[in-house]
Amino acid sequence: MSKTAIISANDVDVFYGEKQALNKINLDIPENKVTSLIGPSGCGKSTFLRSINRMNDLVDICRVEGSITIKGQDIYAPEVDVVALRAKVGMVFQKPNPFPKSIYENVAYGPKIHGLAKSKTDMDEIVEWSLIKAGLWKEVKDRLDQPGTGLSGGQQQRLCIARTIAVKPQVVLMDEPCSALDPIATAIIEELIDELRSNFTIVIVTHSMQQAARVSQRTAFFHLGELVESGPTKSIFTSPEDERTQNYIMGRIG
């Protein structure tokens, strides 16, 4: 485990019933950097991402072996509270999924259930800070009481990011956050990811290699449930060590 790693996976196996989805994954994810997980569909990158905040627990037949530690704490240890873990490791999903409530309530929900705001003014501050961080404040500050579902797709996704960072997590996981968005909205979110890096550690799953190249400092390539190669993004894209990585990047597999 390197010194700067905040998340560290050691021999992680994930099974869905009999089927093994991930095989002996060892990966260190450094703090305050963007790490992208790439690979063809079904390679297990989303499964790995969902193991980091234990969203896989929701799948009855899913089983995780090995250990994932965050700041040295094994998150699969029996004494770990999943709710507390998910407050530390937030998640942004593929499809924007704001709650069918107002913009304000969407952002305020997390701080409310975790008791982060002591007063209404506190809450207002958190909401404003989160929306500013997510680059949405200017667009919505006059209509915070409007439904979050009334925003455009890109705005909805930024609202989801604001909602996630409102609880001040240490890690933000993003599962193909731009796959449902147009190029302009994608560009805005990519810029946003770059800015958020100073406050949060970001792990992003993406299908777009250009996106991985643009936003991430480190890249991990998954293939058929195995971690083929990981390292600084630049070296992965310019001089991959493994042939499979090279083929994928050149568009020959996947």
Binding site: M55, G90, F93, P147, V167
Partner: protein, 418 residues
């Protein structure tokens, strides 16, 4: 581009099939509407008579010999009415004729006169003209239900009775009015006195018990099964059983209520409490199934979003999933309650088929329900109960419509159109 103008044979047949299908649909809607119109129309036609009633004016002698001014309540009011009728129509000599004469006014004429005298002490000592509720025979004759051309021996009313009635009408001593007592009286052996209030109250109380018991239980069961229960063989068995329960004939629930609630737990017979509990056994599966369906219809992304924020499963369910499912849950509840409102068989088993004159004041008192009242009246031999039956059906339908409207209003309020 001729192909776009002259369609091929295959395209033609496809178009025809589409047209045909639309007409099937219209035909189906038309047929069901026609049935509805016939049913509601005939009920309204038959039942409308029950909302009017007939009163007869008779001059009664309230002189000192009949009513003692010091103790008016001791007077023999029934005899006063009979004497007054005899004085009005002296041609009734034989015993049988007199009995028919007395039958022109309702059985409770004596009590009606007593109420009149006690309310109007000024009338004591005078010859007062008092309005009495006419008997059902007189009432239906005036409503035209009796065919006068039939031979006398085939009719319920003799020529003599018809003569008396015609005289009363000719003298202006008969008046028709809105039948308020239908809504303020309980059941009665006399059709002209029978009212719907006891059955209506009984139904309302029964439904209240049914709702208070089945709604929370069903919602909790549905939420637990849908959101928390592990999916294994045991929960599969429960699911199958709930679906089966929805199809169990309602009379079986009545028998269960009879043996468990009445015999084992000793709850009061014929009471809305027992009726409501028995009906909630019936409504439970309906609400559970509807609630589970609407919980399942909530997009999983909402659940994921909440859990991903660090909400506990209970918070995710009650803050996000359940509110979105609420409109669907309420629709299911109303369907269940409407079923319960129309249910008769289980109520017969637990004794809610009783003849109830008094309006029940609590859920522990004997009561009957609207559908049972309809059943009882439909069974009654008196001709005039025919229109009462239809009138009771009209009240039941109005109750149902009110309930559905309430549901729509509530649903609008809860529904978040985000």
């Amino acid at each position: 581009m001729t192909d776009l103008i002259t369609p091929s044979a295959q395209l033609k047949s496809r178009k025809l099939a589409e047209k045909r299908f639309q007409w099937y649909g219209r035909g189906a809607i038309f047929a069901s509407l026609a049935f509805l119109v016939v049913m509601v129309g005939s009920i309204l036609y038959k039942g409308s008579g029950a909302f009017t009633t007939t009163d007869v004016a008779i001059v009664v002698d309230l002189g000192p010999e009949a009513v003692d001014p010091a103790n008016p309540q001791d007077a023999r009011f029934e005899k006063i009415v009979k004497d007054a009728l005899k004085a009005r129509f002296p041609d009734a000599n034989k015993r049988a004729e007199r009995r028919k004469l007395y039958g022109l006014v309702s059985n409770d004429a004596g009590f009606a006169l007593e109420r009149f005298v006690l309310a109007n002490p000024d009338a004591i000592g005078t010859q007062a003209k008092v309005w009495f509720r006419a008997s059902d025979d007189l009432d239906i004759l005036l409503k035209g239900t009796v065919d006068r051309t039939v031979d006398e021996s085939e009719r319920r009313l003799s020529d003599q009775e018809i003569g008396w009635i015609d005289t009363l009408v000719a003298d202006g001593d008969v008046k028709r009015g809105f039948n308020w007592s239908f809504f303020t009286n309980g059941d009665s052996r006399e059709p002209e006195l029978a009212g719907i209030l006891s059955a209506l109250t009984g139904s309302a109380l029964t439904l209240l018990v049914c709702f208070l018991f089945s709604f929370p239980v069903a919602i909790m069961a549905a939420i637990y099964l849908e959101e928390f229960a592990p999916k294994n063989r045991f929960s599969d068995i429960i699911e199958v059983n709930i679906n089966n329960l929805a199809a169990v004939p309602s009379i079986v629930f009545g028998l269960l209520g009879l043996s468990m609630l009445l015999n084992t737990f000793g709850m009061p017979r014929s009471s809305p409490l027992v009726g409501g509990l028995v009906l909630s056994l019936m409504t439970l599966p309906t609400i559970i199934i509807a609630a589970r369906a609407s919980l399942r219809a909530v997009p999983p992304s909402i659940r994921e979003a909440a859990l991903g924020m660090g909400a506990s499963p209970v918070q995710a369910t009650f803050h996000h999933v359940a509110p979105l499912a609420l409109p669907g849950i309420m629709t299911g509840t109303i369907v269940g309650m409407a079923q319960a409102l129309g249910e008769t068989a289980p109520l017969l088993m637990i004794g809610m088929v009783a003849f109830i004159v008094d309006v029940p004041q609590s859920i522990l008192e004997p009561a009957t329900a609207l559908p049972v009242q309809i059943f009882l009246w439909a069974d009654a031999p008196e001709r005039a109960f025919l229109e009462k039956t239809s009138a009771a059906i009209i009240v039941l339908l109005l109750f149902l419509i009110t309930m559905n409207l309430l549901a729509i209003v509530l649903r609008r309020r809860f529904e978040k159109r985000f």
